[in-house]
Symmetry: C2
Subunit: 271 residues, 2 copies
């Protein structure tokens, strides 16, 4: 028996799903069927959602969980009439917040991921463009970079840079350490002069080999021997240069990006 | 008087901040000073956070709001001893969930943005690589694309593709409509044959001009006249081809990506 779980919002439902996810992972032995319903912003759409909830209750033989972040209470309360257990993620906290702040809330739909602040939006777009034009060592001009990630090919540099740009508006460049770099005792000068902005990424060499195999099966590039050489040399080089290193083997892009920004003192408000 | 707001978590605190943000926007007339404290995963770090909360209470002359998503209750409860109003975002919902599910929760730290599922992680990395290698019309081979965004230069295609890839593992390509394309009555054949995967992005021409001015000040490319020509021609062409169009003028990347995926029937579980 799998219980259905609905994430329902008048916006993207990204907040509802992200938060709901972390609650569900606290019940690791249970299986859930998860359904996201974004843009439920009218009574009609709420009625449609209600019908889906009731149908799931019927089919599953068990009542669904409903994570509701609809701001308009007249719309959101429609969900209460169904056969789901509704977690009202907004109302639950708005009531105490109104008391603490001594102020009535005024409903603002879909503001979690809306375009609240044009400057912040343009910062993110600018940073994304920066990440794309300073990816994979394409340029040695790194004066404008706020972070420069360094590591062997396929250690996770590009996605981390893009995440920092899209979510935090941070200008992140990256440089892949090649065999040639790894045979030298020092990092290239154009990196050394930005040492305070450098951050190393590493990865378990077995996993690296598996990732590279997908790209180039049977190649020297993907061989365990080559991956081990590169990872061990890169770690030694970065340590010798006093560059902090983080392993991406068991971490998500979000975690890696957040940790690096904290450690480099680049804390930004999330968009 | 600005009230301090803390987002505190044992993980990235991205969930706490995203959710807390949407609650704060319901009080649009108030100003807040927002502080994110990620990776608070020990009693010592919680004590440090507590000291920051108390200092803010002192400096602000008003008690801070504290959005707490620390999973370990022994660590999280340390925050309750301070001068902040703590919103316990986990505990508040875990208690009712335990009753509904008939199961005790077992604390799993930092799972909202952890690497839960290796396959999903690799899907996202693969999709990110796809977005990078199928950006800006660099290739006409689009058989593997799940979405192809079409629009004039700087209408928001690249960030939207990257967001779809990083968050949903969707393979998204994009193609910029050039003057040459806009003078023809039809889309190029390599796009027409993938019509079901096409989605148009448009933007208000005044805003487009402002965005392009930052890039190339005083250029024909950034002129109002050119931007208006491109936007109007692109909209006419896409309409004639029966391609759905979304305006990015007042929407965030998250909203645009979510709407397109819903409309193309590409609903994915968020990572």
């Amino acid at each position: 028996m799998n219980r259905s779980v609905f994430f329902i919002s008048d916006g993207t439902a990204i907040t509802a799903e992200t938060f709901g996810h972390s609650l569900l992972t606290q019940f690791p032995e249970m299986e859930f069927r998860q359904i996201r319903l974004p843009f439920v912003d009218s009574p009609e759409k709420a009625e449609d959602a209600l019908a889906m909830i009731n149908r799931a209750a019927e089919e599953d033989g068990v009542e669904p969980l409903v994570f509701n972040t609809i701001v308009d209470r007249d719309v959101g309360s429609i969900l209460d009439r169904g056969r789901g257990h509704v977690m009202d993620m907004f109302g639950t906290f708005l009531d105490p917040m109104e008391k603490i702040l001594g102020s009535k809330s005024s409903p603002q739909v879909g503001q979690a991921h809306g375009m609240r602040d044009k400057d912040s939006y343009e910062d993110r777009m600018e940073a994304t463009n920066y990440a794309l034009t300073h990816d994979d060592g394409v340029t040695q001009r790194l004066d404008d970079a706020e972070v420069i990630l360094v590591g062997v090919s396929r250690s996770g540099k590009t996605p981390t840079c893009l995440y920092m740009a899209l979510h935090f508006g941070v200008k992140a460049a990256n440089y892949p350490l090649t065999d040639e770099d790894l045979e030298k005792p020092r990092l290239p000068n154009f990196l050394r002069k930005h040492r305070k902005k450098l951050y190393g990424l590493t990865i378990d060499f077995n996993r690296l080999s598996a990732i590279r195999e997908i790209r180039r099966p049977g190649s020297k590039y993907a061989s365990l021997r080559q991956c081990r050489f590169e990872v061990e040399s890169a770690e030694a080089l970065l340590r010798a240069e006093g560059v902090a290193i983080l392993s991406t083997t068991h971490a998500s892009v979000e975690e890696i990006a957040s940790r690096i920004l904290v450690e480099l003192g680049l804390q930004r408000e999330l968009f």
